[in-house]
Symmetry: C2
Subunit: 604 residues, 2 copies
C-alpha cells in the first residue's frame, strides 16, 4: 500500500519505538540534522533564559526554579515526545495557574509554597502519563476552541495586569483582575521613578523589536522568518541593558528591585515529599494545569508538524509531557508544557529533531552553572516587561468577534470563560467554561431543529418545505427531526409530533425521516412508543424512513417494530411511492362511504 | 380548523384560564361530574389517611404533619394544576428525600427538624413555581428514563429496608442500605414478639388484598378496575385491625409501639421562619426533591390524561405543584407531589375534575378534626407494613434487564444510579445518575459512528457499504459522519478523515455526506478548515453534500466555503454524477501524461 504525502503512518514492526520515539528518529540521525538542531538550540537557549526567570517569578518561585524546569524536562520530552520541534519548559498560563494553586496552600516565599509547586509538577506528570497510557487524550476535547481561546485571553490579561506592579515598583497581590486592579490604583502613588523608567523602556524596546526591529532586519535582506526568529531573542538584550543600567548607575540604592543572589549549580535530583494531604489538596489543580497545558501544547505541535507534513500522536504526546513534568517534579522544577513562541523559534531556526531540545537543556544547564552571578543585578522590572510583552500576544480579542458572528453559543461559552476567569480566577474560569460549553450543547440538542420535508421535483431527494421548492403529499406528512432522540429532547419531540399532527386533520400517515437520528436511547424509545400508540388512536399510521443501521439494530431488540402501525422504509422515496398510493385509495373509499352515508341516513 | 381526537388545544381567548385552569373546568362543571368526584374523594380519603400518617413517619415527622400536607396542598393543586385526576400529597420517595435532607440539619424529633421539613416544602414550592413561570420544565428532561427508574427502584429498596425496624420493633437509623442492613442484623435479637406478629400479619394481609382479595372481588362480578380500586383501601382495614388488637389485647403494655397522642384540629396558617442559613443549606435538596417529584407527577398525570384523551401542560403542572408545596410550607406540611397509586384510584373511582381533590382535602380535614383520638392506639408496625407493601411495587427490576438488552449506556446509567443511591444516599444517587447519563451521552457523541457509503443500485439513495450491497466510485470516497461536528468529536473526526484518505491513495475527491450533521460549532469548523487545507496539499478535493439549512446558514457567515477546494451539493446523487465524470477525465489525462512522460524522460 502506497502512502499519501503528508500522511505518515508508523512502520508496522515499530511497537517499541511507538512508546520511545527517539529510537525511530535517533536511528536515522544525520549530520545535516545536527547543524539545524544546534543552531536552533543556541537561539532557543538565549530566548529561554530570560523566559525561565520571568515565568518562575510569575509563578511566585525563585528564579533558579525556572532554570531547573528548563533542563531535565526538555530531555524527557526529547525521549518520549512525538513532535520534532516542540520546545517545552515553563510557560505563562501554567505559571499563573501554578501561582493560584500553590497560593491556596501557602504564602509565596515559604518552603511549603515551593513544595506545592513541585508537587503540582509531579501530579501533572502522573495525570498526563496515566491519560496517555489509558488513551484518555479525548478528554482534552471537552476543552472546546472558544473556551480555551477565551481562557488564554483572560489569563493573558490577568498576567499582564499582575506584572504592572513590577513596572511601577509597587507591591500588589492577587490572582484576578478584581483583586489586582484596585490595589494598583491604591498604590500607584508609591511608584518608584527609576524602576518605572527601566520597566517602561524595556516594554517600549520589546514592542519595537517586534515591529521596527523586524522591519529593519527584513530591510537587511533577512527572510521574514529569520527576522522574526532574531526578534524573539530581544529579551536577552533588554536583560543585558537592565543589568548594565543597575550596575553602572547604582540603581539598587535608588530602590530598583533586582533579582539578587541566584544559587548557581545544577538541580539536585530528589524525590519530592509525598504528603497525602498535599496531594489531595492539589490533585484538582494539577488536573486542570495538565489539561490546559496538553491542549495548548498539542495544538502548537500539530500546527508545526502540519507545515512539514509530519504527524504528532496525541496519546504519545501525553506520555511525553507526562515524563517532562515528572522530570520537573524530581529535579526541583514546576509544571512545564510546550510553549508557542519558543516552538515557533525552534522551528524557524531549523530544528530537525528532538535533539534540539536536548542541546537546549545543555545550554540552560551551562547557564545555571556559570551565568547566575551575572543575573544578580537584573532588575525585576525587565522581567515584568518581558512577561507583559509576551502575554499580550496571547490576547486575541478578534476571536470574540468571530465567535459572535459564527455562533452565539460559542460566544456565550467564550465570554463566560473570560469573565469568570478575570473575576473569579483561573481554576473556576476553566471549569465554568467547560461546564457552560457542555450545557449549551445539551440545551441545543434538547430543542432540536426539525423540518417538514417534501420531494425536490425531478429527484428522489426530500428537503425542508420552508427552504426549498418541494412537492408535498395530500395525506402523508413527513417530519425530519435533526437530532438523536435521547433523554434531553424526547419529550420535546413527542409534543412536537402531536402538535404537527393536530394542526393537520387530513393526514393519515406520518413518516419520521431519520437520516439525522444517530441514536435512540431508552427515553427516546419510550417517546416513540407513546407516539405510535397515540397516533393509532387518532387513526394515523406511523412510519420510519432512512433509519441508520446502528439505530435499526437496537430497535430490532425491542417489540417496537412489531407494534409499529406503519412500515420502515430504507429510502424516503420508497415511502412516498408506497403511501401516496394508499392515500389515493383512501380518498376514493372516503368518497364512496360519504355518498353511501348520505343516501342511507340523511336524518342522522 | 378541525381537531384530531385526543389532541385538545386550549381555546384561544383563554389567556387567564391558562394560569388558572379552574376557570375553564369550573365554568363547565355539571351534576354528573359531582357524583364521580365525590365517590373518588371518599375512596381517596380512606386510602390517604393511613398513607399520610405512614409517609410522615417515613419522613421522620409527627403523624399530624402528614395529614396537614394532605389538606391545603390538594386545594392549591386543584386550583392551578392541569391534570383532571392527579392526586397530590405526601409520597414515599419525597418523604425519604425529606428525611435525608432534614436529617442533615437536625435530629429527628427536634423542632429544628420539623422547621427544616417545612422549609423544604417552601423552597420546593418556590423552585417549582419559578421553573413554571420561566418555562424551565425542560430541565426535568435531564432526569432520563433509566436514571429516574433506577432511582425509584433503589429508593423503594431503601424505604422497605428502613421500615423493617418497625415490623421487628427494634431501633435502627440510617438513610442508606449500607447503614440500615448491618444495624438490622445487630439488633435482630431485640425483636418484640407481639410487634412482629402484628407487622407480619399486616404485610401478609396487604399482599393478599392485592392478589387474593382482588380475585375474590372480581369473582363477585366487580370489574377489574373497581376491584383494584377497592383493594387500595385495604390499608384502612389493616389500620382498624391494628387499633382493635392493641386496645383489646392490651399490647401497648407488651411493648408494641403505637402512634400515641395526635393533636386534633386543623393546621395553623403560619409564615415559616425564613432563616437564610437554613435556606442556603436546604436549597440543593429542595431542588432535587422538586425535580424528582415533578418528573414522577407529570408522568403519572400524562399517563392518566392520555387514557381519556386529555392533555397536561408540563409548565402549568410546575405552577400547580409549586403552589401545592407553598401551601404545604404555609400550613405546617412538608414536600408533596402527585402519587401514582392514589391518582390511579382517583381515576378508576371516576374523578372527573380537580374538584375531587378539594373534596378529598375536606375529608382529610374532617379526619384531622375528629379522627385523631381513634388513631392513638394505632401500632407503628401497621404503618411500616403499609409503607413496605406500597414501595415494593415501585421496585422494577425488569427495567434493569430491559436496559441491558436495549442499550448498555442506559444500563450503566441505571445501575450507577441504583448502586450510588443504595450505598451513598438519595441525593448523591440522583446527582451521579444525571451526571453519568450526560457523560455517557457526550462520550458516545465524541466517537461518532461513520460509514463509507455507496449508491443503492437502481435508486438515488446512498447507504453504508458494510450493510448494503452498494456501488462505489473509483476515485470518489464518500464518508457519512453520523453526528454533529462539535468540540467533543472534532478531533476524532479529523483523525478519522486523515486515516481513511491515507488508506486509499487512488482517491482524488472526498465527499462528506452531512444529512446527520445537525450542527457544526467553532471547533468543528476549525477541523473542517484543517481537513480542507491538509487534503489540498495531498491533492484531494473536499466536497460536502446534503448539508442542512441551519448548518449552511452558519457556514455562509465564514470564509470556509470560499476556501473549500470542492463543491457543496444539495443531493449526494448530484455529487456522484458530477464527480464521476471528473474521475473519468482524470484517468484519461493520467494515462496520457504517463505515456508522454515515458516517451520524453525514460531515464528519470
Amino acid at each position: 500500500m502506497t502512502q499519501k504525502p503528508g500522511m505518515k503512518m508508523p512502520s508496522k514492526g515499530a511497537r517499541f519505538s511507538k512508546y520511545l520515539p527517539i529510537v525511530e528518529w535517533g536511528r536515522n540521525y544525520r549530520r545535516k540534522d545536527l547543524a539545524g538542531d544546534l543552531l536552533a538550540a543556541v537561539i532557543v537557549t538565549i530566548m529561554l533564559i530570560p523566559q525561565s526567570l520571568a515565568y518562575a517569578m510569575l509563578a511566585g518561585l525563585p528564579p533558579e526554579i525556572g532554570l531547573y524546569a528548563s533542563i531535565l524536562p526538555l530531555v524527557a520530552y526529547a525521549l518520549f515526545g512525538t513532535s520534532r520541534t516542540l520546545a517545552v519548559g515553563p510557560v505563562a498560563v501554567a505559571s499563573l495557574m501554578t501561582a493560584a494553586a500553590a497560593g491556596s496552600i501557602a504564602a509565596q516565599g515559604t518552603p511549603e509554597y515551593i513544595a506545592a509547586a513541585l508537587m503540582l509538577a509531579l501530579l501533572s506528570g502522573l495525570i498526563l502519563l496515566a491519560m496517555g497510557l489509558f488513551r484518555l487524550g479525548f478528554l482534552a476535547n471537552f476543552l472546546s476552541h472558544p473556551v480555551i481561546s477565551g481562557f488564554i485571553t483572560a489569563s493573558g490579561l490577568i498576567i499582564a495586569a499582575s506584572q504592572l506592579k513590577h513596572i511601577f515598583g509597587i507591591s500588589v497581590s492577587g490572582h484576578t483582575l478584581l483583586e489586582i486592579v484596585p490595589q494598583l490604583g491604591a498604590h500607584l502613588s508609591e511608584t518608584n521613578g527609576p524602576t518605572l523608567i527601566i520597566g517602561a523602556s524595556a516594554i517600549i524596546f520589546l514592542f519595537w523589536s517586534r515591529s521596527g526591529l523586524k522591519r529593519t532586519l527584513i530591510g537587511l535582506r533577512l527572510s521574514e522568518s529569520t527576522a522574526a526568529m532574531f526578534t524573539r531573542t530581544a529579551p536577552v538584550f533588554a536583560v543585558a541593558g537592565g543589568i548594565l543600567a543597575v550596575q553602572f548607575l547604582g540603581l539598587e540604592a535608588a530602590g530598583v528591585r533586582i533579582v539578587g543572589e541566584v544559587p548557581s549549580g545544577l538541580p539536585a535530583l530528589a524525590m519530592p515529599q509525598l504528603s497525602p494531604d498535599l496531594m489531595t489538596a492539589l490533585i484538582g489543580s494539577a488536573a486542570l494545569i495538565s489539561l490546559v497545558g496538553f491542549v495548548e501544547s498539542v495544538s502548537v505541535a500539530q500546527t508545526l508538524a502540519a507545515k512539514r507534513r509530519q504527524r504528532v500522536d496525541p496519546n504519545q504526546e501525553l506520555i511525553g509531557l507526562g515524563t517532562a513534568n515528572l522530570a520537573a517534579g524530581f529535579s526541583g522544577g514546576y509544571p512545564v508544557t510546550g510553549g508557542f513562541a519558543r516552538s515557533a523559534v525552534n522551528f524557524d531556526a531549523g530544528a530537525q529533531t528532538p535533539a534540539a531540545g536536548i542541546f537546549t537543556a545543555i545550554g540552560i544547564a551551562l547557564a545555571a552553572l556559570f551565568l547566575t552571578p551575572v543575573l544578580y543585578a537584573l532588575p525585576i522590572a525587565v522581567l515584568g516587561a518581558t512577561i507583559i510583552v509576551a502575554v499580550l500576544s496571547l490576547v486575541d480579542l478578534s476571536a470574540i468577534k468571530r465567535a459572535w458572528i459564527y455562533s452565539k453559543r460559542d460566544f456565550i461559552a467564550m465570554m463566560g470563560t473570560i469573565l469568570i476567569t478575570l473575576t473569579a480566577g483561573v481554576e473556576l474560569g476553566i471549569m465554568v467554561g467547560v461546564g457552560l460549553a457542555i450545557l449549551l450543547h445539551l440545551y441545543h440538542t434538547s430543542r432540536p431543529h426539525f423540518a417538514i420535508v417534501g420531494q425536490v421535483p425531478g429527484t428522489q431527494h426530500f428537503r425542508n418545505v420552508d427552504r426549498h421548492d418541494v412537492q408535498l403529499s395530500e395525506c402523508v406528512l413527513t417530519l425530519r427531526v435533526d437530532e438523536s432522540l435521547y433523554f434531553a429532547n424526547s419529550r420535546f419531540f413527542e409534543d412536537l409530533v402531536y402538535k404537527e399532527i393536530a394542526d393537520r386533520p387530513q393526514i393519515t400517515h406520518l413518516v419520521l425521516m431519520c437520516p439525522a437520528v444517530n441514536m435512540i436511547d431508552e427515553s427516546g424509545l419510550a417517546s416513540l412508543e407513546a407516539i405510535n400508540a397515540r397516533l393509532k388512536e387518532a387513526g394515523v399510521a406511523l412510519h420510519l424512513s432512512e433509519v441508520k443501521g446502528p439505530v435499526m439494530d437496537r430497535l430490532n431488540r425491542t417489540d417496537f417494530l412489531e407494534n409499529l402501525t406503519g412500515n420502515v422504509y430504507l429510502h424516503q422515496y420508497q415511502a412516498m411511492q408506497d403511501l401516496d398510493k394508499d392515500c389515493a385509495e383512501r380518498a376514493m373509499n372516503a368518497a364512496l362511504y360519504s355518498r353511501a352515508r348520505l343516501a342511507s341516513a340523511p336524518g342522522d
